[in-house]
Symmetry: C2
Subunit: 455 residues, 2 copies
């Protein structure tokens, strides 16, 4: 796609070429200079596109700050691999420049011995150590410990002076959280409120006491849902005594939203999510992520063969019956996927909850009757022109109505049941639903055929 806005701002291909040339001529200073002018996301993209030798060469020329930016933007796996290549004495100044939550993520992925050794030599290990306690996909795993907490008795002017003194790099500054003398979260004030307040106003008089917060063990999906629902730029994380532990910022929210959407679609497509970009993942790993589901679905699908074996006599008597098998199970599967996709997203955005199951089913039942009747007519016409047997055509038409009703029922209730029991509804993927509907759909079709055709 030529001329997208990103390219109107910056031509990454050209810059990549320039850096490659500079590296080729061993002009490391020039390469580092070009990198230094880029935004972190672009630095990381360029860096990923270089081959390993070029990466090593470039890294030796970059400042620890720029290297830290690149580490922060790389995927976890890529960052880990890169860290393996770098000796401790070069890695430590880089990690000192990284955001504490990013440094903790990297340490958490390393071999424990190396992580322990690196942690001890970092400038401020106490900022990072508590972050190592929490699993990656929880609020505790997302939060940063780099935040400025205000006290209730400060004035607005003192708070602004504190910000000026602190000179924070982080985006955590737009929401300032207020703690009591024990470090317990008691309020929030945003930078805008702070600026427009009279300089001598006390924080406790202008802060908002009604703070939305989470504990460290809350799942990242729930974190994202809360921040998105209430348009929060930052979300405080507390322990069981409401002591403020850290802050989750909006860039984490965006990452989680994208990550969850990717996971949902991949699961829905019937594959375990990949941990890093597709083209950087080896075919062996991709195969591992996919073959489990494929085998389970294959074994479930052998049920369809069993159903067909059950009706072998009927098929023998009228081979034309089999002509419609792929058509019917395809339509059942498609109708079911449409429903499943809708319900998965409604669950993800919180519009539908498991307790709505009955309403959802009744909603789908009415849709299914309309869809089934709409499909029955073309199905009848197609069948009659194919086989010139009105009873067989009627069988196909009736089957399609029953099948669509059945498929949308299964497709709507499966994700709701999954959610009810705390299983990711996207796991009830399109293929799983289709495969389940296939076998039962054949059973419905052959049973109707047996009755209507008197086989």
């Amino acid at each position: 796609m030529p001329n997208t806005p990103v390219e109107h701002i910056i031509d990454l291909d050209k810059i990549l070429e320039e850096i490659r040339i500079a590296l080729g001529q061993n002009d490391l200073k020039r390469a580092a200079e070009i990198m230094g002018e880029l935004r972190p996301a672009d630095q990381a993209e360029i860096f990923s596109d270089l081959d390993e030798d070029e990466q090593r060469l470039l890294l030796s020329a970059l400042s620890p700050e720029d290297s830290a930016d690149i580490f922060e933007e790389l995927d976890d796996e890529q960052a880990l691999e890169l860290a393996r290549e770098i000796p401790d004495e070069k890695l430590i100044p880089i990690m000192d420049e990284m955001e504490p939550d990013e440094a903790a993520d990297l340490l958490g992925d390393m071999r424990p011995e190396r992580a322990r050794k690196l942690l001890e030599e970092l400038e401020d290990p106490e900022e990072i150590r508590p972050l190592l306690l929490h699993p990656d996909e929880t609020a505790g795993g997302l939060m940063t410990s780099e935040f400025l907490a205000l006290r209730r008795r400060m004035t607005a002017a003192e708070a602004i002076e504190a910000i000026r003194q602190w000179q924070p790099e982080a985006e955590t500054i737009y929401y300032l959280f207020v703690v009591d003398r024990y470090g317990r979260l008691v309020g929030v004030i945003n930078l805008r409120q702070l600026i427009v307040a009279p300089p001598d106003a006390l924080i406790q008089d202008i802060m908002d006491e009604d703070v939305i917060y989470v504990t460290a063990d809350v799942d990242q999906e729930e974190v994202a849902r809360l921040m998105a629902r209430y348009d929060l730029l930052a979300l405080p994380v507390v322990d069981e005594n409401k002591i403020l532990l850290g802050v989750i910022t909006f860039d984490d929210l965006v990452d989680v939203l994208e990550e969850e959407a990717t996971e949902d679609l991949q699961r829905y497509g019937g594959a375990e999510p990949l941990e890093r970009p597709y083209l950087d993942t080896s075919p062996v790993i991709i195969t591992k992520k996919r073959i489990g589901w494929l085998l389970i679905l294959f074994l479930t699908a052998t049920l369809t063969g069993s159903v067909m074996k059950l009706f072998e006599d009927e098929i023998q008597a009228m081979v034309a019956l089999t002509l419609f098998v792929p058509l019917l199970i395809g339509t059942g599967g498609n109708a079911g996927s449409q429903t499943t996709a809708t319900i998965i997203r409604e669950l993800a955005t919180g519009n539908v909850e498991p307790r709505d199951a009955l309403r959802v089913w009744w909603h789908e039942a009415r849709v299914a009757v309309l869809l089934g009747l709409g499909m029955a007519v073309p199905a009848f016409i197609r069948a009659i022109t194919w086989v010139d047997n009105p009873m067989l055509a009627t069988t196909v038409a009736v089957s399609i109505v029953v099948l669509v009703l059945w498929a949308t029922g299964v497709g709507s209730l499966l994700p709701l049941v999954a959610a009810k029991f705390g299983v990711d509804p996207a796991l009830v993927s399109g293929p799983l639903m289709s495969t389940m509907v296939d076998a039962t759909g054949l059973l419905i079709y052959f049973s109707i055929a047996k009755i209507l055709l008197g086989l």
Copy 2:
């Protein structure tokens, strides 16, 4: 799910009940009071759960500010329906309190005559009129005209004073954009930089001249990708002369990310996206969104019947061949969906581009060989235990390898071709891909059977 963080903060069911009781007793003041204490997102959820009579009653008691908050949080369709019920003289004070971009969205959805009439009577029509020019799903449709632009020659102290004077409600305040005397965008400074700068520093000396911006016609998906990539809280929108027209804020980014993920999953599931929450959409409209694809897929699927008719003699000679039809086309479809889901997301996040087609195909081909071999063994075992015919079992095993190779090839290239021609890759939905692979898969299976079994 009991005890989710949202519920630990607030028990919406209980509050809904309280409001219902207050409304039932005609105690409008109490109902309005309870609503007034809620956050806008919760107000809108409660409001949606009330029936129409209750909504009307409650709205008559709410302040224009609270009503405006509810309007902003409702889906476009819901807001439009509600607006239909409210006479102009009540709607105008509410719209005056709404954010200009939200008010413009609402006006844009109304009958043109009513929109024109309302616009004239609003307090500040000039703030809204320019926003009406842009389609909903573009940068122009997302932006708000309520922003504070700084001048280059201002000092930091003057800028802070300007913010204090303006007392903005909006979240647009965290990034401040700088314009020249013609209103052209020349720089950006964030509130943090402004606060930590020396009071007498000139804006032009502390601002960042390297601003990321878009023109009003850029698609919202591209807007979201830019803001997510560079972690932007706000993105300025300019006209062709770089005159600053408006600002897109991070709450819009979150909405777009969720909307696009929903659209992708629904399209992938083979249905046109719904415009409003599922349970509020009538079965007739849901049917309309689904039946088009279902019919197209049905007609494509009749190809499978044609392929089976083509091999009718072979099937007649060995009915056992049909036992494996659902199994094989199921596996082909599943393998293809896994690939398609991965590529759609890689395209959405910008990790893969259409020009990577060859690399992607080669990647998939290696995965397919591994998957195919992995599947061939259980397929052979299953077949031999079923039919006790080694040649037929071999046919099934060989077919599965070829089929997986074919399905992953189609599944990877279809979305890339779609993206190349500017079509939404999610449109190349799982069902479409499956249906295409079904017919060709059967052709492969029966051809291999013909050769190996000598039928």
